[in-house]
């Protein structure tokens, strides 16, 4: 049957700012969160002290905490834009940390070969999962769930369920790049380790690749409409495989950075990483169904989620509250867009109803004055 013939004049007249800039909703929620924390700090100190939440040393602190989940969130964004998901990143990170630490402290491979081995294993394992996901119609959720459990198994087998302590061989990854710099506000030492820069570099390259390269655009196409992408000449299976390979690479790098911070390869190292990164990505506006999202949004998600625990601390709230706060932030950030569009639809309907009532009332008046008015007569009879 023929579909409705929309007159060509009914084009989107005015788009709201929130619709035009897709990251604006999350950004404004994040900004209000920051503003509230700062305000509370100002009030509690009577405005006598600079709010510690936005002091340089605290910001640098937060950066150190979010750098590793942030790296993984970049590739998770790509996976999710392509319509997939990856639950295995946490356990994979633990596995990599155990491989690298064993390589260095037990197998005696040397630092760089061990790191290489860890990263390559992550890439290979993710690629295997990607291969299965892209060549079959099994849900990525299931495959990566299976991956997560098996990676845990491999890791525990390798380390005999024990932790692998190193002697600081990876300390060069945590050296302070800002030797001697001090926070002008608090006077504390500012620390920027290399992995924070690596995180920014990865986010930059990832963001540019998604927006400005053919492969980036193809990831969006595959996530939006797989069948149409296939018919437009895109090798859909390979694109879906490729995002998992990238995921493996970034998990490998990220896990090495985490290991450098903790100096111990241990099964709990990556615990909860998958939950955190998925939360960061969805806060940033990436759709679970694929096709929508971007790295800038993900970065907002990374900083937002990463600063919650820190803020709770500064506000002297019990640390248990942070889970509740994180959960609420995920729910609010993800439903905000939908709620606001529903609200605007509701108000548009109200306006339309009011206009229609006015129109009906004037028509009725006109009908009473001119009894011959056919249109008004018809409306009268229908009322």
């Amino acid at each position: 049957m023929s579909e409705q013939q929309t007159p060509d004049t009914t084009l989107p007249v005015k788009e709201s700012l929130f619709k035009r800039y897709e990251n604006l909703t999350v950004f404004s929620i994040f900004a209000s969160f920051v503003a509230i924390v700062v305000l509370v700090q100002l009030i509690s100190t009577g405005g006598s002290r600079f709010p510690t939440f936005i002091s340089p040393v605290n910001i640098v602190n937060i950066l150190q905490q979010v750098a590793v989940p942030g790296m993984v969130a970049v590739s998770m964004t790509m996976v999710m834009i392509s319509g997939g998901i990856d639950l295995s990143v946490g356990m994979l990170a633990s596995l990599v940390s155990i491989i690298v630490s064993l390589g260095i402290s037990k197998w005696g491979f040397g630092v760089w070969p061990s790191i290489g081995l860890g990263v390559v294993s992550a890439v290979v394992l993710e690629t295997i999962m990607g291969f299965i996901i892209s060549r079959t119609s099994v849900e990525p959720f299931i495959i990566t769930l299976g991956g997560m459990i098996s990676f845990q198994g491999i890791a525990l087998l390798l380390c005999n369920s024990r932790e692998v302590v190193m002697k600081g061989e990876l300390d060069f990854l945590t050296t302070n790049l800002l030797q001697g710099a001090r926070d002008p506000v608090t006077g504390l030492i500012l620390r920027i380790p290399p992995y924070v820069l690596v995180f920014f570099l990865i986010a930059l390259v990832g963001g540019l690749a998604l927006t400005y390269t053919k492969y980036g655009r193809r990831i969006y196409a595959v996530g939006t409409n797989r069948r149409a992408a296939f018919l437009a000449g895109i090798n859909v299976p390979n694109i879906r495989l490729f995002v998992y390979t990238i995921q493996g690479l970034l998990v490998g790098i990220g896990a090495t950075m985490l290991l450098a911070r903790i100096n111990t390869g241990i099964i709990t190292l990556g615990q909860g990483l998958e939950i955190d990164t998925i939360a960061m990505v969805v806060i940033g506006g990436t759709a679970l169904s694929g096709g929508r999202g971007n790295i800038v949004g993900t970065l907002i998600g990374v900083f937002f989620l990463g600063s919650i625990a820190n803020a709770m601390n500064l506000l002297r709230l019990p640390s248990e509250v942070q889970f509740l706060a994180k959960g609420l932030v995920v729910i609010v950030a993800v439903s905000a867009g939908d709620v606001s569009s529903r609200l605007s639809e509701f108000w548009a309907l109200k306006r339309e109803q009011a206009n229609a009532r006015i129109a009906a009332a004037t028509a009725k008046k006109g009908g009473a004055n001119e009894p011959g008015n056919v249109q008004a007569d018809m409306q009268d009879s229908s009322v």
Binding site: S2, P12, Y212, T213, K214, T224, L231, A232
Partner: protein, 494 residues
């Protein structure tokens, strides 16, 4: 025989289209009443009104057993009006018994009476002379056997009227005979059957009466006894060809696409040659394997046997990507599901297919927007800019975006599947004009269409499909509705 169902002066309007106009129709107990008509004649709309899915416009009346009723899906089922659609609506993982009683399980104190349900199923299957077991899983049955289960389901719930929409499409001839025998059996039980089929021989085998629809109007109604096939076909056609779109003819050039004995995806042994500057129309009933052939040509379904040559060189279309590199374009039937990225911008939609042709890794958004703007202007797409989301466009403008996507690949062979489906009249003519412009530029078009006026006015040659094979080819003056229809619904080849 008493009248069980009577429709008088039924019309149904959709925005911009009158799907049914002043239809009167009746059905007696124990009768098989066949509905005939081309694609889009209004048969489906009529049965949707009978099943309660659509409400008729004001002024029409429906009588059931002499009483006026208004039909909703639930009311229709309560009166025992069962519609069995072309596509199966079954629960694959459940057994025959569970399918038959889905939603109306026999229970006692909330517990299922499995034995009783099984017994009734067995009884009805025996009555239908079927050898199916009540315990078989639905997924293990052929589509013909699933159809039998659906008929059994209607019988178990005391059906009065059974509507069969294309029950035999894609069946083997043995399965067709089984279904026809079952229809004869249930008719003897005083049930009224409305039977829709594209296959005239079935209608003549089991029908008591035939009603012909054309363009939403009832043309005629005959008892089958003494009726000839030619009369029926004449009534189904009969539009005035002078009202069709007049297209400019273009001088034909050298052959660009040669298809030899192509078999696969339901198409069998198809051969033709396409020349530059020519539209080859492919007509036939829905489900006759036309779109399936295009899929094979475009590499999105596997070629089982045969050869495809482009510009005299044999090509291997292993995927759409290779087809695009061989300068082929495929404007699919369902543009929203398979042709467009609806939430994305015009620009992004337009540049996506040409990526298969380029080695560039960098794909600048600004370049995409510039390309998008070019096609917005060239095809006069009604949109504020190339950044507009495609989902906000009307059907005609969406189709133009699809065209822009393929123009951008520099393709030469255009496969159109239903080029103007769901498009208003104005945009339709614009699309036709664009197609003629393509021909002038030395391109060639294969066009699958179920819209008769479109096939007749746009095609230089027409091949008619039936059961996945070419039933005949028509050229010049011989391209008429009557000839196309005779070829597409004529006797089934055994």
């Amino acid at each position: 025989m008493d009248e069980i169902l009577h429709l008088s002066h039924i019309s149904r309007t959709f925005p911009g289209v009158r799907a049914l106009q002043d239809i009167s129709f009746d059905l007696k107990r124990g009768e098989v009443h066949c509905l005939c008509g081309e694609n889009g004649a209004g048969k489906s709309t009529l049965i949707k009104i009978l099943s309660g899915a659509y409400q008729p416009d004001e002024g029409g009346q429906i009588f059931f057993n002499g009483k006026e009723v208004s039909l909703t899906p639930l009311a229709a089922l309560k009166m025992g009006i069962h519609t069995i659609y072309q596509e199966h609506i079954v629960f694959d993982a459940l057994s025959v018994t569970e399918n038959i009683f889905a939603g109306k399980e026999i229970t006692r104190w909330g517990l299922q009476q499995r034995k009783e349900m099984r017994r009734q199923t067995e009884e009805v299957l025996r009555y239908l002379k079927s050898d199916l077991s009540p315990d078989m899983r639905m997924s293990a049955l052929t589509s013909g056997q699933q159809k039998i289960v659906e008929i059994a389901k209607a019988l178990v719930s005391k059906g009065n009227v059974i509507i069969l929409d294309e029950p035999t499409a894609s069946f083997s001839s043995k399965e067709i005979d089984t279904v026809l025998d079952i229809v004869k059996t249930i008719r003897q039980n005083g049930i009224g059957v409305i039977y829709i089929s594209h296959h005239l021989e079935e209608i003549f085998k089991i029908g008591d009466r035939a009603t012909v629809l054309r363009d939403g109007r009832k043309v005629s109604s005959y008892p089958i006894a003494g009726l000839s096939k030619t009369t029926l076909i004449k009534d189904m056609v009969g539009r005035d060809p002078s009202s069709f779109y007049k297209r400019e003819r273009v001088k034909r050039g050298e052959p660009v696409l040669e298809v030899r004995n192509v078999t696969g995806n339901g198409a069998r042994n198809v051969s033709f040659t396409l020349r530059r500057g020519e539209v080859l129309g492919i007509a036939g009933m829905v489900g006759s394997g036309r779109s399936e052939l295009l899929e094979v040509l475009f590499g999105s379904a596997p070629l089982v046997y045969g050869e495809i040559a482009i510009n005299g060189r044999l090509v291997k279309q292993s995927s759409p990507a290779s087809a695009i590199r061989n300068k082929m374009c495929f404007i699919t039937e369902d543009r929203q599901a398979t042709g467009l990225f609806l939430p994305k911008s015009i620009a992004e939609n337009v540049v996506v297919a040409n990526m298969a042709n380029t080695r560039n890794v960098i794909e600048l958004p600004t370049h995409a927007v510039a390309t998008g703007e070019k096609y917005v202007k060239l095809l006069s797409i009604k949109a504020p800019s190339a950044r507009t989301q495609v989902v906000n466009l009307s059907g005609g403008n969406q189709q133009k975006v699809v065209l822009g996507k393929w123009f951008n690949t520099g393709g030469e062979i255009y496969l159109f599947d239903e080029p103007s489906r769901g498009i208003d009249v104005g945009s339709k003519q614009e699309i036709y004009k664009v197609m003629v412009d393509l021909l002038k530029g030395g391109k060639a078009i294969v066009m699958v269409s179920s819209d008769m006026p479109e096939v007749i006015s746009m095609s230089d040659r027409v091949i008619v499909f039936k059961g996945g094979e070419i039933a005949g080819e028509l050229t010049g003056e011989r391209i008429t509705e009557e000839n196309i229809l005779t070829l597409s619904i004529g006797d089934r080849k055994e």
